[in-house]
C-alpha cells in the first residue's frame, strides 16, 4: 500500500530495476542450469570416452583372466587432477562380481557390490536388470555417485561390465564455481544496467510529474501564473501536454469571458440605474427650472431673491448637464459618417497635440460614406483620442487608425503612456473613473454607452509598450 502512494519518479525506476533484476536472475538460473546439464553431459561423454579407450584392452585382459593387466589398464586411465582421482573405475565380471577396481581398498577383488552397502546393492540390481551392449548413465536418487555403465564387449558378447562412477560431491564445487561465475557476471551487468534503468525511468516519468505539478497548480494559483514547460509530442505524455495546454487556454478564455460578462452586466446595471435616476431627476428638475422662469417673468424679485434664484438656476442646470451626460441617448437625426468627419477630429486635436509636442499618427482609411451615425462615431473617436493624448507623456506617441474591415468599422487608438493598472482596468468603463484631475470621469462611460448602443464592442490591450483601445462597430445597411 505504501508502494501505491509512492511517486512514479521512484516507482518506474524501481519497476525497471526489478525487471532488470528479475531478468538477471532468470538468465542466471537458465545459464546455471544449462551449464550444469552440460557438465553432466560432459562427464557422461568423458566416461564413455574413457570406457571406449579401455574397451580396446580390457576385454582381452578379462578373457585371459589377467587381473594384473586389467588393474594396470584401469590404473593407466587415471589422469592427473582432483576430479579424476575421485573417479571410480570398477570392472565387473560376467557374474557381476568385482573383477578389479581402481580402489581395491573399497572394492576388493572378487567382492560383490551388494556387500558394499544399500546404494551399491541397488546399482548391482540395476546393472543386472539391464544387460546392454551400449553405455548408459545410471543415476540413482539416493546414491552419492553417478555411474556410467559400459559393457566390455568381445566378439559381440558382453564378457564384463565397466562402471565409471563420479561422486555427486564432485558436482557441488563445480556447480558453486559456475554459480559464482554467473553471479559475478550478472552483478557486473546489473551494475551497468541499473543506473541506466534508473536514469531512463526518471526521464520517462519527468514529463508526467511535471504535468502533475502543473495540474496541481490549476485552481490554487491564478491561471496566468500557471505556465508549464511541457514536452509536446505524439506519445501519450506528449498528447497529454498538448491537451493540458489547450485546456489551460480554454480556461483562460472562459475566465476572461466571465470577467467581461460580469463587467458588462455591471455596466448595464449602472446604465439602467443612471437612466432611472436621470429620468426621475429630470422631471422635477424641469419643473423647478420652469418655476424659476415663471417667477422671473411674473414676479418682482428683490435683489437678494434674484441672486438666489440665479444661483439655484445654475445649480439646477449643472445637475441637468450631469444627468444628461450620464444618460447617453442615441440621437437618430445625425447624418451618415463621411471621411471628412474623421479628419475634423484630427483638426480638433491639433491644439493639444502641438502644445505637448506629441507625435500624432493619423490613418484614415475611410474613402466613402458608411452606414453609421456620424455624431456618435465622432464622439467615440474624440473621447478616445483625447484620453490618449492625456495619457501619454510630453513628446510621446499617439496613433489613430480608422478603417473598414468587411462589415465592420474599426477604430484603433494607441498611446505610449503608462500601462493601466489592474485596479483601474476593472472599473475602466464605469462612470466617474478618473485618470487625472481634469476630466469629468465620464468620457469612457459615454464611449462605452455609445458603442453598446451601436451594437459594437470595445477592447483595451497592451501591445508593444502601447495601450491600445480598439472599437469594432457593425455597419448598418443603407436602409
Amino acid at each position: 500500500m505504501i508502494l501505491g502512494n509512492l511517486s512514479y519518479r521512484y516507482k518506474v525506476p524501481m519497476m525497471l530495476s526489478a525487471t532488470i533484476l528479475l531478468t538477471g536472475i532468470v538468465v542466471s538460473i537458465a545459464l546455471t542450469w544449462r551449464t550444469f546439464a552440460d557438465l553432466r553431459a560432459d562427464l557422461f561423454r568423458n566416461a564413455v570416452e574413457v570406457g571406449s579407450v579401455l574397451s580396446n584392452t580390457l576385454p582381452a585382459a578379462l578373457k585371459h583372466d589377467d587381473l594384473w593387466l586389467a588393474y594396470q589398464i584401469i590404473g593407466a586411465a587415471k589422469v592427473d587432477g582432483e576430479s579424476e582421482s575421485e573417479r571410480l573405475l570398477i570392472v565387473l565380471d560376467d557374474e557381476y562380481r568385482v573383477y578389479v577396481s581402481n580402489r581395491p581398498d573399497l572394492f576388493p577383488v572378487m567382492s560383490e557390490l551388494r556387500t558394499q552397502g544399500e546404494q551399491l546393492a541397488k546399482v548391482e540390481r540395476e546393472v543386472k536388470r539391464r544387460p546392454t551392449l551400449t553405455p548408459y548413465s545410471l543415476e540413482l536418487p539416493d546414491s552419492d555417485h553417478i555411474f556410467t555403465v559400459i559393457p566390455m564387449i568381445d566378439d559381440g558378447i558382453a564378457i564384463g561390465t565397466l562402471l565409471i562412477g563420479y561422486p555427486r560431491s564432485l558436482f557441488l564445487p563445480r556447480f558453486l564455481g559456475i554459480v559464482r561465475r554467473v553471479a559475478y557476471s550478472s552483478l557486473i551487468v546489473l551494475a551497468v544496467l541499473l543506473p541506466i534503468g534508473w536514469y531512463l525511468g526518471n526521464r520517462a516519468v519527468k514529463p508526467l510529474s511535471q504535468l502533475a505539478h502543473c495540474l496541481g497548480r490549476v485552481g490554487s494559483a491564478p491561471l496566468e501564473a500557471v505556465d508549464c514547460q511541457l514536452e509536446e509530442g505524439r506519445d501519450e505524455i506528449g498528447q497529454l501536454g498538448v491537451s493540458f495546454r489547450q485546456m489551460l487556454l480554454e480556461l483562460r478564455e472562459k475566465e476572461q469571458l466571465e470577467q467581461e460578462m460580469v463587467a458588462s452586466e455591471r455596466l448595464a446595471a449602472i446604465g439602467r440605474l443612471a437612466a432611472g435616476v436621470a429620468h426621475e431627476i429630470n422631471n422635477p428638475l424641469g419643473g423647478m427650472l420652469n418655476a424659476i422662469n415663471t417667477y422671473r417673468r411674473h414676479g418682482v424679485p428683490d435683489e437678494l431673491a434674484g441672486r438666489t434664484l440665479s444661483l439655484i438656476e445654475r445649480g439646477l442646470n449643472q445637475i441637468g448637464d450631469t444627468v444628461s451626460a450620464l444618460l447617453v441617448e442615441a440621437r437618430s437625426e445625425s447624418h451618415r459618417l463621411t471621411p471628412q468627419d474623421i479628419d475634423d477630429v484630427y483638426m480638433l486635436l491639433q491644439p493639444d497635440v502641438q502644445r505637448r509636442s506629441i507625435r500624432l499618427g493619423w490613418e484614415n482609411c475611410l474613402d466613402t460614406t458608411v452606414g453609421l451615425p456620424s455624431t456618435q462615431v465622432r464622439q467615440v473617436l474624440i473621447n478616445l483620442a483625447l484620453n490618449a493624448v492625456q495619457a501619454t507623456t510630453d513628446r510621446g506617441d499617439v496613433s489613430c487608425r480608422v478603417e473598414t474591415s468587411g462589415r465592420l468599422l474599426r477604430i484603433a487608438v494607441a498611446n505610449s503612456g503608462d500601462e493601466i493598472g489592474p485596479e483601474q482596468m476593472q472599473r475602466l468603463f464605469e462612470p466617474f473613473t478618473h485618470f487625472n484631475e481634469e476630466g469629468s470621469g465620464l468620457g469612457l462611460w459615454v464611449t462605452y454607452q455609445i458603442v453598446k448602443q451601436l451594437d459594437g464592442r470595445i477592447d483595451v490591450a497592451r501591445r508593444e509598450g502601447r495601450t491600445v483601445f480598439s472599437v469594432d462597430l457593425p455597419l448598418r445597411t443603407a436602409a
Binding site: W68, P108, V109, M110
Partner: protein, 292 residues
C-alpha cells in the same frame, strides 16, 4: 731427380703399412669382438633403464667389445633364449637355472650382505594386522611374480605342499604381475591380499621407495636360497666365459663398478658353486611331486 723418387717410395711404403695394420686389426675384431648379449629378468629392479645403459657402457669398456643387455616380459622368454644359445648369458632365477642345467652353466652369483643368498618374503597389506601365516590367506587373492620365479612362486607353492595343502585350490584367486616390484604394488594397493616377493627386491625397495613398502607388511621370511645367478649358455666358449666372469667378479675392484653395485644394492659377485642351489633343487623336487 733421385730425391723426389726416394720420397715417393717412402710414402708408398707408409701407405701399404697402414693398410696392412688396418686390415689386421679388423680381422682381430671380426674374430674376437663380436660382442656380448646378456639377458636380464625381473630378479632385480629391471625398470631402471638409465642405470642399465650405464652398466652396459661399463661392461663394454671393461670387456673391450660391444655389450648389450636384452630384456623380455617374462623369465621364460629369457631362459629359453639362453638355453637356445641366442644369449651369451643371463641374470635369471635359481628356479630356471636348476631346471635348465646342463644346457646352461653358472657364471657368477651376486653377493648380498656379503653372501650369495637371499630369501622369499610373504607380504600382506599394511592394513592387515591379522595375518601371521600363509594359511591365514585361505580363499584370498594372492599375487605371484612369475611362474618361473623361485621366491615369487615356487617357495609359497612348496610351503603349502609341505603342509599338505593343494596350492591351486587354496587361494580364492591368484595372478602374476611378472615382476617382484609389481607384487609389492599389488599388495600395497590392496588388489591382492597377499603376495610372494624376492626379499632382496623388497629390501632394496624399502630403501629407495619406503612409501611403497611401508604400505606392506612382511609376514614371513623363507629359508635362504642361492641368489638368482648369472648363467651362461653352454655354447659360450670357455675363453669368453672366463672374460665375462672376470669382468663381473672384478666390478667390486674399481670405483665405477662399486658405484654400479651400490645402485644394485649388491656387494659384488662370486663365481659361486652349483651346490648353492641345492635348496631350490629340493623345492623343485617337492613341487614336481606335488603336481603329479
Amino acid at each position: 731427380m733421385t730425391r723426389p723418387r726416394a720420397a715417393w717410395y717412402r710414402a708408398l711404403f707408409r701407405l701399404l703399412l697402414a693398410a696392412m695394420l688396418l686390415s689386421l686389426s679388423q680381422a682381430q675384431a671380426g674374430g674376437e669382438g663380436k660382442g656380448f648379449k646378456v639377458g636380464l629378468t625381473a630378479v632385480f629392479l629391471d625398470n631402471q633403464t638409465s642405470f642399465i645403459r650405464q652398466w652396459e657402457k661399463y661392461l663394454a669398456r671393461r670387456l673391450g667389445e660391444p655389450f648389450e643387455f636384452v630384456q623380455r616380459q617374462s623369465y621364460r622368454e629369457i631362459t629359453q633364449m639362453l638355453a637356445k644359445g641366442q644369449l651369451d648369458a643371463a641374470w635369471i632365477c635359481g628356479f630356471p637355472y636348476v631346471r635348465y642345467r646342463p644346457r646352461i652353466r653358472l657364471l657368477a652369483v651376486p653377493l648380498y650382505h656379503g653372501e650369495p643368498l637371499y630369501q622369499s618374503y610373504l607380504i600382506v597389506p599394511a592394513s592387515d594386522h591379522v595375518t601371521r601365516d600363509i594359511e591365514d590367506l585361505r580363499g584370498r587373492v594372492f599375487a605371484y611374480s612369475d611362474p618361473d620365479s623361485n621366491s615369487g612362486f615356487l617357495v609359497p607353492q612348496v610351503e603349502l605342499l609341505r603342509r599338505g595343502i593343494e596350492p591351486a585350490r587354496f587361494f580364492g584367486k591368484t595372478f602374476f604381475t611378472w615382476s617382484h616390484r609389481d607384487v609389492v604394488v599389488a599388495v600395497a594397493d590392496g588388489v591382492a591380499q597377499g603376495g610372494a616377493v624376492d626379499g632382496y627386491v623388497w629390501d632394496t625397495l624399502s630403501q629407495t621407495h619406503p612409501q611403497l613398502t611401508n604400505r606392506t607388511r612382511v609376514v614371513a621370511r623363507s629359508r635362504r636360497y642361492g641368489f638368482p645367478p648369472f648363467a651362461a649358455s653352454a655354447t659360450l666358449d670357455q675363453r669368453r666365459f672366463e672374460r665375462l666372469q672376470q669382468v663381473l667378479l672384478g666390478m667390486s675392484d674399481d670405483a665405477e663398478g662399486r658405484r654400479l653395485l651400490q645402485k644394485l644394492n649388491l656387494d659384488g659377485f662370486t663365481s659361486g658353486d652349483d651346490s648353492l642351489f641345492d635348496g631350490i633343487r629340493e623345492e623343485v623336487a617337492l613341487f614336481e611331486r606335488g603336481k603329479r
